[in-house]
Symmetry: D2
Subunit: 298 residues, 4 copies
Amino acid sequence: MTTVGFIGLGIMGRGMARNLIKAGFELHVWNRTAGPTTELAAEGAVAAASPADLAAQCEIVIACVSNTEAVQAVLLGPSGVIEGARAGSLVIDMSTISPSATREIAARLGERGVHMLDAPVSGGSEGAARGTLTIMAGGPPEQFARALPVLQAMGKNIFHVGDHGAGQLVKLVNQILVVGNALAMSEALLFAQAAGLDLRKTLETVSSGAAGSWMLSNRGPKILARDWRPGFMIDLQQKDLRLALAAADEMGIPMLCTSLVSNLYSTLQAEGLGREGNHALIKALEKLAGVEVGAQPG
Amino acid sequence: MTTVGFIGLGIMGRGMARNLIKAGFELHVWNRTAGPTTELAAEGAVAAASPADLAAQCEIVIACVSNTEAVQAVLLGPSGVIEGARAGSLVIDMSTISPSATREIAARLGERGVHMLDAPVSGGSEGAARGTLTIMAGGPPEQFARALPVLQAMGKNIFHVGDHGAGQLVKLVNQILVVGNALAMSEALLFAQAAGLDLRKTLETVSSGAAGSWMLSNRGPKILARDWRPGFMIDLQQKDLRLALAAADEMGIPMLCTSLVSNLYSTLQAEGLGREGNHALIKALEKLAGVEVGAQPG
Amino acid sequence: MTTVGFIGLGIMGRGMARNLIKAGFELHVWNRTAGPTTELAAEGAVAAASPADLAAQCEIVIACVSNTEAVQAVLLGPSGVIEGARAGSLVIDMSTISPSATREIAARLGERGVHMLDAPVSGGSEGAARGTLTIMAGGPPEQFARALPVLQAMGKNIFHVGDHGAGQLVKLVNQILVVGNALAMSEALLFAQAAGLDLRKTLETVSSGAAGSWMLSNRGPKILARDWRPGFMIDLQQKDLRLALAAADEMGIPMLCTSLVSNLYSTLQAEGLGREGNHALIKALEKLAGVEVGAQPG
Amino acid sequence: MTTVGFIGLGIMGRGMARNLIKAGFELHVWNRTAGPTTELAAEGAVAAASPADLAAQCEIVIACVSNTEAVQAVLLGPSGVIEGARAGSLVIDMSTISPSATREIAARLGERGVHMLDAPVSGGSEGAARGTLTIMAGGPPEQFARALPVLQAMGKNIFHVGDHGAGQLVKLVNQILVVGNALAMSEALLFAQAAGLDLRKTLETVSSGAAGSWMLSNRGPKILARDWRPGFMIDLQQKDLRLALAAADEMGIPMLCTSLVSNLYSTLQAEGLGREGNHALIKALEKLAGVEVGAQPG
């Protein structure tokens, strides 16, 4: 069976790595800090001394780290994957990072005969643990085919969406939709609250028709309960929005809605709410309106 | 069986009236212009000489006309319902109009012992024809109970959402969500197009997860096909947004997203696109970006 | 000398009327409430029993009232100017009202042989008292020439800007600029505050160059002193913005900046700050940012 | 007299350097490309082989280059100023760059006993040529005093606004105001055009009062003449806005107006208009509205 390496054992990576072990892959792991490596080693993984060392042992190397700089470091930096990877091996970057940086990394790896897929995910830590992630992959079709058994151990809806960078771009499309739907929900619930409507009945009424969205059905009730625990944290959401805004700026595409949301999230981060869920967006509008959703109408 | 009156035989009203005939109600009809009345009379309805005349014959009177002024005219104006309605009868206004005007109309009818429900709908002319409308009703619960058999002949998801005006307010909440989700979709598809993504694969990938919405699943494919035939026309959407913005302005609630969309729709109306579907919102962003979604990437 | 009538002795009208008396005009006055009439009568004006009565005595009739409805009432309503005005006389509406309503009023008066100018002002109650208002007049040039001696008693910068309604439209252009400049100032000062800059030095540095504006030079220092006394009240500013937004909506022109400001002012009105000056706009951004401009950096 | 070094002989730098020669300073120059160095050498400057070489000869070293990376390269990079500068000498960075990068550079130079001022300018190439720039300086007061005679050779309004980075921050405040006032102007002129107003009269009327700004008086007439030659180019304006937006994002300050303008400029850059003046902002609104300002009303 394919030997797989996994770099980055954070909240997401740990769940994904465990699902690879369960699926029977021989798994080598590396993490910037030692704790999670030890933990996974106890569950059957082989601890590697460095990304380069890990790459030397594996046919497929997965990276799942926090941002563009971290991906560049573990893949291309000193003791990075590029120093150990065998010609013909495959790197799958499952982090969400810059699409244009992704293309540069693929080119650099390609010069050494190493293949690459960008394959960011959605579905959160829950999806990572359960193996039900949505995976959006960009890169050569034959590498996608090669990666598929590995990806299927971690995700449920797995799409090949285009060439290098396309996975990252589709992920950003996803995030633009998520926050736009969140803004619509926030504005609508604030209106409902100010109008003195019964919010539970209102949600029930509008969720099933033309106004419906995953966000409204899944996060609307959390807002009513003022439960701000994250599905997906504002800090991470904001990181992805910055990637989307930078890409749009390069392309000369207006992002009126996404810019607005990013401005609102910034104020929440400044208040220390960056670790709340992205549905806490409504708190920015609440500040402005002086109205609290879920409170008894006065 | 209950004798029902129907005022306003437009695209929506005609379908609704037909479903009442099918359900076996004795139906009296009146329309501002004669054509539709003659048509419905040929199908078994009784033509009334005026709203007042119609109200004198019916236990329940439904109005489904184009705006606040039209509702005020047919209910409270000369030869209006108020001049003929029997004490104890019920008026159901299924138009989408101003919530505060609704409360005033209910009060005026109440002075004559006439009951009222506001019961705007969503689901478009198709839903009206098929009897599958969503209906959001405001007013006294016992009047809602009384109206239910009549409403069930026209709609499928029928909700009692609060007192007088609440039906209109929930309808506006619905519209805020609809256009916010449409803006998110427009921005996301424009980004995808500019990035050179395969739009069909992109839609398929993002529609099922956290980015999903009714709008994306039902109108996204229409945008890719550049099919601008309305589900719901920009002119009507814009009329509803003005009601929402006016209500929000009265309440002191910010509507950053809805204002933005309303500005964009205004420019489309000025171009003569008011009779296209509300998903043509994307055309405003296309103008700004100089990019056409669905075109082959250059 | 010309006999002049003045309708509407509010904060603005009183100062303007006094300047007409000083300039030697025989002045007839009418006000909805008696107090100000008595006051002006004590200063030499003749009290009229109604707008119609006043119009019967005067060659030129000035109206300066609060909104479109009030102008329609005093000019066209029962006992209104139209009932008493002599053919060939001139009505000057110095209120800020709807441009399209202005054209309709001019047409109605024209049917009776009564001429009209729309001549809204800027400069506030101070300018009204000192006779230094800016006046923007629309209507036939010969009527402007006829009105000029009267206007010169009240204002300093007097412009004939076009036909009926043009005065109102230029006033709205003025207001769009005022609030846009106020938004720029608010955002810039909030940035400066958050960055820990010395606000007094910052204002001094940027006021004289390409960033300069009347708003920055005249209202910036008031913000630093947190002095919210009005030059021009938010409630009135917001009334004018609604006229501008409605006119733009009719014309299909996007008003992204003005819409944004109007949304922010709405939230301040809901907080009860409608009688503060329009430079209190910054308080809306302060709420959002959790930063207070003028406070010591933390 | 003080020996001065000048790095960066672009459109701005050339004019500034010439004014230093005129003022009698012994001037050493270096530029990334040879042409401008040769030109200035012919006018009396001494050509240096590298920034390090130049720094070794000078008591005061000025840098005026295009962005943060360029400043870091010429000051801290290989053969950079830091390699040649004498302890006790002074570096004045007159580029517009990141405030936080500025603080880091000042710290790095400080470790070698080299002083620093950040002193960005406004006033464009014209102001650079004429020696009438506005200069906003941050850094220790005694270094500002030391630099003053040099700065006075290049500028007219010279301000010491605070510690390291404060010059850059005040420059960003300036740019936020500039583009906000430009947006207000654009929206107002578009409204005026759509309303059929005489634009020249409108400008004349509103420029002198509460709506007035440098932008309106100096760029409004250029818009009417459709003269898009830059005072200040969109590409540079946009570069500065990105710095402002990044700084605001770090501080958690909303920038609703600046974000909006930056989005609009992006679309103009994508159209190839980045070298037009910043007043071409109005073209973005024109695209959206389908209205051209300055055209005869249809």
